[in-house]
């Protein structure tokens, strides 16, 4: 009986947490290329469209940003401010991805510091994430769970594009939305970036490295090329992190 209960709970978790990462109703684009020079022949108003990496945070002009943030995870409802700052390693330069000349991510020397605190200034967590590193400077004890950090690490890697993206990129057109969907590997993460068909506006990022850390990130309300609202959702543990832009640079 006990095994039956365990099995049932496991199946339930799988069913409830296992939303597909791959977008539905995709039609392969005309070419599969490994660079950003992909040309699309879909029903797009523009004659060509390019798959690009999200460059909000990895752009050379990005320095720091402040979001109003709320995070719901299990019984916790946390609200406050999230501060994200790029930290440059003096020994390395930063490639300007906004020019679209390189289909790769930030240099290994670039890291991001993320501080999430409540409205009164007390810190929930303070972390530093780089291409191959995650250092948690501080975490409020009730949140300090290894499993949670595995998930948040994937979230922030997808959001900040901290790792080199390599290998073959595959591209599709989503039938119902006409979005351009780009699939690629980022370290051990399989990520999907969905753009408007013009290829110039990132709508959503999906990705996962395993079943538990799959994430959906939605970008809305662009202001001068930067999304004013970002929503990160992890279906497996029902974690929801909402960010509303307050200031940038």
């Amino acid at each position: 009986m006990r095994y039956f209960i365990f099995a049932s709970v496991g199946i339930l978790l799988l069913l409830t947490g296992c939303q597909p990462t791959k977008p539905r109703h995709l039609t392969p684009a005309s070419h599969h290329l490994s660079t950003d020079t992909l040309l699309l022949t879909a029903n797009c108003p523009l004659p060509t469209a390019h798959c690009q990496l999200p460059t909000f945070f990895s752009s050379s002009t990005f320095e720091k940003t402040l979001f109003k943030a709320s995070m719901d995870v299990r019984e916790h409802h946390l609200t406050g401010l999230m501060f994200i700052k790029k930290i440059r390693d003096p020994g390395s330069g930063i490639r300007d991805l906004s020019t679209g000349t390189a289909y790769s991510s930030v240099d290994a020397g670039v890291k991001y510091r993320i501080v999430f605190s409540n409205e009164f200034g007390m810190t929930y967590f303070d972390l530093e994430i780089g291409s191959d590193s995650l250092h948690i400077h501080y975490c409020f004890e009730p949140l300090n769970k290894n499993a949670l950090w595995k998930i948040l690490e994937t979230d922030f890697r997808l959001l900040l594009t901290t790792e080199e993206v390599s290998g073959h990129m595959k591209s599709y057109i989503q039938d119902e939305t006409n979005y351009l969907a780009c699939r690629q590997k980022q370290g051990n993460i399989v990520r999907w970036d969905l753009y408007t068909c013009e290829g110039d506006t990132l709508v959503e990022v999906r990705g996962k490295s395993n079943l538990a850390d799959q994430a959906h990130i939605a970008f809305n309300g662009y202001q001068q090329g930067f999304p004013s609202r970002i929503i990160i959702f992890n279906p497996f543990i029902k974690l929801n992190l909402s960010l509303s832009l307050l200031s940038i640079n």
Partner: protein, 211 residues
């Protein structure tokens, strides 16, 4: 989260003490401060004030600055309203704590929530001037120009995980709080400075009701 709110709120109502890196106070002066705090608490029916909050992140050499309005009315009404750069209000009416965040209102009853019951206990203790004798903190009294300063160090290990100390700066003339600083274990700290304080001006109960 609740603990952190608790810590901040309790400091707001603490009435009375000194300025670090200056001379420690003798027992007679400490007693005088405690009495001053207690007397001020008895005489204070209402407070309204502006505040500016700065979170200093030492490693990043950056500050997050927010500001808003603060209201208190005897016996147990509090409104703490952030107006810049975002809108967020926390109001306390007796045993009920209400929060309005981005237009959404939610309430917490401290009768059924131990953490907020503790918040409430400390707030009331603070308003009555008994916080300085609270067993949960070790208080060090210091004097400086213009202020009495009290440094409150949490005794419980649970509180120490999120807070290393609270420093409260009291006006020497009326024993109201001018400024407070909350130090975190990692070295960051948050400073809240009160300005345009008005004591015992009429305040409608309505401002403590969030809908």
């Amino acid at each position: 989260m609740h603990k952190l709110i608790l810590i901040l709120i309790l400091t707001l109502f603490s009435i009375g003490i000194a300025n670090a890196q200056h001379k420690p106070l003798d027992a007679a002066t400490i007693q005088r401060i405690k009495e001053g705090v207690s007397l001020a608490a008895k005489k204070t029916e209402a407070i309204s004030s502006d505040f500016t909050q700065e979170k200093e992140m030492s490693i990043l050499n950056d500050k997050i600055i927010t500001s808003g309005k603060f209201y208190f009315k005897k016996e147990r009404l509090l409104r703490w309203e952030y107006t810049h750069p975002f809108s967020y209000v926390i109001a306390i009416r007796g045993d009920v704590i209400t929060i309005r965040d981005e237009g959404e209102v939610r309430s917490i009853n401290t009768q059924t929530n131990k953490v907020f019951a503790e918040v409430n206990r400390i707030i009331i203790g603070s308003v009555r001037g008994t916080l300085l004798d609270d067993d949960n903190f070790r208080a060090d009294y210091i004097q400086s120009n213009g202020h009495y300063t009290v440094s409150l160090s949490p005794i419980s290990s649970a509180l120490q995980e999120s807070l290393s100390r609270i420093v409260i700066y009291f006006d020497k003339t009326d024993f109201t709080v001018d400024k407070l600083e909350m130090y975190e274990p990692a070295g960051d700290f948050t400073r809240i400075t009160f300005s345009k304080k008005q004591l015992n001006q009429p305040l409608s109960d309505e401002i403590f009701h969030l809908r």
